[in-house]
């Protein structure tokens, strides 16, 4: 019976896999992580242009004070997440693995910028015009917190000629292990709902759908109940399937519309924002609070205390691991994000960024890749690809640097979800070569 019910739920219709969920920290309430002694705030955390640093070594900063100003439209402001004295401004290795500029701040007390409303009372009234909302979101440096870190104000600026009819709030959290969005929905439902109303107003739509996977029944129930107090917001529970949290997959699952190849959600009348982003939007608009903290899941099979922490941006990963009982013995890999799309870190001293959804500690025995066999042409990668591509073929094209054919075979449509590499019975590194192929195609395009 339950099985039948599950099958009737909406989901996307092309490809997909179902990795073991391992949501170890789903019952751990969000804890405030104690203030660190120092933060390292990366300046370039988003897609687009890096912002310009406006503080100098020795400056005193308050919590929420701007330290880097966006350059151009597709860029984002960066604020200090703590109060104290600016230290070195230098390059550090961040979670992307690259060396990038970052501002060190030595923490002293916890003095907030006066314009920020730190109270917990809910402000439901939205007195701002759509333009003002977008401006406030841009000022607050809000970026997508689902992983891609795309500046949110860009997604709210609808170009002439495009008509948006639906706002989708992404509460799917399809990555195994991660529970940050789940906990946020359970503990801050009203803030998310008001945030949704703000986004609806900014876009001028009267319909919003919150998509949540069916493995978070408590969140579905709660958001369904709370959403009744807010006009135009409905909840849709979705069949558990990876990568449902992908924008294109979620839009197809909820609205049955396919974003065209190379297109944007706006092309089919939809805009998608993550629940974490929506929560930050609420604070940005109603409380004048910039994006200076976020929920981060710390998890892994051997972790003593899998947990969800409210963390100031720039806190070192080490601090989070210490708070969860220290680094377990035989840890072979530290992943920033989920196991399917996250980045393996080379160092524990990497700072938490706006898009860091989790820290996953993988034991040594699971951290190495297994022996690779010949491709047996089983076709499982084709079956699993949510974009309808032929991964085995794209891998060969990528390997052979055949950029023309790779482009023709839609290699740039690949969303790098990893379903092909995950499912391959021969353990072939399919996605590695597709990434390589994608960058060759892009390079060839730029050279033209």
């Amino acid at each position: 019976m339950l099985f039948d019910l599950n099958n009737k739920l909406k989901t996307f219709h092309k490809g997909g896999v179902h990795p073991p969920e391992h949501k170890l920290s789903e019952h751990a309430a969000i804890e405030e992580l104690p203030l660190p002694r120092q933060v390292v705030i990366p300046i370039f955390q988003h897609i687009g242009k890096p912002p310009k640093i406006v503080v100098e070594r020795g400056d005193e900063v308050k919590v929420g004070q701007i330290i880097a100003v966006h350059e151009g439209f597709v860029s984002s402001n960066i604020h200090s997440s703590v109060s104290g004295k600016v230290g070195r401004i230098d390059e550090v290795i961040d979670s992307s693995g690259f060396r990038r500029m970052a501002v060190n701040v030595r923490v002293k007390d916890d003095v907030w910028d006066e314009s920020i409303d730190r109270s917990d009372n809910l402000v439901t009234e939205i007195p701002f015009a759509p333009k003002e909302i977008v401006e406030k979101i841009m000022e607050a440096g809000v970026v997508g917190q689902g992983g891609a870190a795309f500046p949110s104000h860009v997604k709210l600026s609808v170009p002439e000629g495009k008509h948006i009819d639906t706002l989708i709030i992404n509460g799917v959290e399809c990555e195994p292990y991660l529970t940050a969005d789940h906990r946020l929905m359970l503990e801050r439902p009203h803030e998310i709902m008001v945030g949704t109303k703000i986004l609806m107003k900014a876009l001028g739509v009267d319909r919003a759908i919150v998509g949540i996977e069916n493995n978070k029944l408590d969140a579905i129930e709660l958001i369904e109940k709370v959403s009744r107090e807010y006009d135009g917001i409905s909840v849709e529970s979705l069949k558990v399937q990876y990568p449902q949290g992908g924008e294109k997959q979620l839009i197809e699952a909820l609205l049955g519309r396919e974003v065209p190849s190379g297109g944007l959600p706006m092309d089919v009348g939809a805009v998608v924002h993550n629940v974490g982003t929506t929560y930050s939007v609420y604070h940005a608009v109603q409380k004048n609070k910039p994006l200076i903290e976020r929920v981060v899941t710390v998890t892994g099979k051997k972790v003593k205390k899998p947990a969800n922490y409210m963390v100031r941006i720039g806190t070192s990963v080490t601090e989070l691991i210490e708070a969860s009982g220290g680094l377990p013995e035989n840890t072979g890999k530290i992943v920033s994000g989920g196991p399917m799309m996250g980045k393996a870190l080379g160092d524990m001293d990497v700072p938490i960024a706006k898009a860091t959804s989790g820290i996953l500690l993988i034991p040594t025995f699971e951290s190495k890749r297994s022996e690779v066999y010949n491709c047996v042409r089983c076709g499982k990668c084709i079956e699993a690809c949510p974009m309808g591509l032929e991964p085995y073929h794209l891998m060969l094209l990528g390997k052979g640097k055949n950029t023309d054919e790779a482009k023709e075979e839609n290699i740039l449509d690949c969303i790098e979800c990893g379903s092909c590499s995950f499912i391959c019975p021969s353990n072939r590194p399919i996605l590695d070569y597709i990434r390589f192929g994608k960058s060759s195609v892009r390079k060839a395009e730029n050279n033209q």
Binding site: K14, V17, P19, P20, G97, H163, D165, P176, K248, E252, R257, E258, P260, S261, G262, D267, V268, G269, L327, T331, G332, K333, V335, G337, P339, M340, G342, K343, A344, L345, G346, D347, M348, L360, I362, S367, S370, Y373, N374, V376, R377, C378, G379, I382, E383, P386, M387, G388, E390, N410, D413, E416, G418, S421, F422, P425, S426, N427, L431, D432
Partner: protein, 333 residues
């Protein structure tokens, strides 16, 4: 500072558990019921042929890998064992040992390794071996042993049911008259028939199919489309003239249709990628099988049908590419 060495590799960081050696092992488990029944019916001969085929297939693959290709031996992935088992399933249980060895050499050497080993061969290696033997040793390949177990059947010794049917029709007998002298379809389903080592028992083969579907090693598309096509086509002819054409159930239960549909046509390497392609592939095998059986010289025809359709796989793949996401007409509103 800690000195933990961290692995840094691109995502994904987890992998599903079904790997090639496990799949191969699963296929071997799926073949065990049919093998067990064969040993029960044909006795030690079935064991001999199977062991000789497996050992020589593995041995030839090892030799070719080590001395000709000078690479690491690929025997451990288990595919050579399956080729050996399938070859044994496709020959009589009293086949002389040297013929089994020759068949194994052809299956592995020409059918598989000459193309570059696992994953690169266009034709099913076991069938390449079988057809080579069928053409080179027609007498030994078509003289079937009498079951040693005490089944009370007479008609099934010496020739296969399909062979009896073809011979009977050739001398002018009607189908009902021939059928009178043969065991019932229920007997065929259970395995009380003469024939190749692994093709006799529908029940044992279907058990294997259920196991492989349960383990998600194969999908239903190829076996079902192939069997249904044969059922419909032979059924049509049977309805038109039951005097001349045997009933569809008889056709499905005899002559390796189930063995072919479940174990031979579903070989990953030599079958299409997509479900749509698999359906075309299965239907194609069904049509060719029926054509050979009803209008050709050979009594059965599954092996040839599969090999012919193997050759079409690249073409099928080309025309059954998955639909790319984002090509659906936009229905905004």
């Amino acid at each position: 500072m800690s000195t933990t060495l961290l692995t840094v590799a691109p995502s994904p960081h987890i992998h599903q558990e079904l790997t090639v050696p496990q799949i191969m092992r699963g296929v071997i488990y799926a073949m065990l019921p049919a093998l067990a029944l064969s040993v029960y019916v044909f006795g030690i001969g079935a064991v001999n042929v199977t062991v000789i085929a497996i050992v020589s297939c593995a041995f030839f693959e090892y030799l070719i890998c080590t001395y000709l290709l000078k690479t690491k031996s690929s025997v451990a992935d288990g595919s050579a064992i399956i080729t050996g088992m399938l070859l044994a399933f496709n020959v009589p249980s009293n086949l002389p040992w040297y013929i089994v060895v020759i068949g194994s050499a052809v299956a592995i050497g020409i059918g598989k390794m000459s193309f570059g080993g696992l994953g690169n061969n266009p034709f099913n290696p076991a069938l390449v071996g079988r057809v080579f033997l069928l053409i080179s040793f027609p007498v030994q390949m078509t003289s079937w042993p009498e079951p040693v177990a005490s089944w009370s059947i007479d008609g099934a010794t010496g020739a296969t049911p399909l062979g009896l049917l073809k011979d009977g029709l050739r001398v002018g007998d009607t189908v009902p008259a021939i059928m009178n002298e043969m065991p019932s379809n229920v007997d065929f389903l259970l395995g009380f028939q003469g024939g190749s080592l692994g093709e006799m028992s529908g029940v044992a083969l279907i058990l294997g199919l259920i196991y492989m579907l349960y383990r998600k090693i194969i999908t239903w598309h190829i076996p079902i489309s192939m069997v249904v096509t044969i059922f419909i086509l032979t059924g049509l002819f049977w309805l038109i003239n039951p005097e001349k054409y045997a009933d569809p159930v008889f056709h499905i239960l005899t002559g390796g249709v189930l063995l072919g549909a479940i174990f031979m046509a579903t070989d990953y390497v030599t079958s299409p990628f997509t479900h749509k392609g698999m359906l075309i592939f299965g239907v194609g095998i069904g049509i060719i099988t029926v054509l050979i059986r009803l209008f050709g010289a050979y009594p059965e025809g599954v092996s040839f049908a599969i090999l012919i359709m193997n050759a079409f796989v690249p073409l099928i793949n080309r025309y059954t590419k998955p639909r790319r996401f984002g090509n659906k007409p936009v229905t905004n509103g």
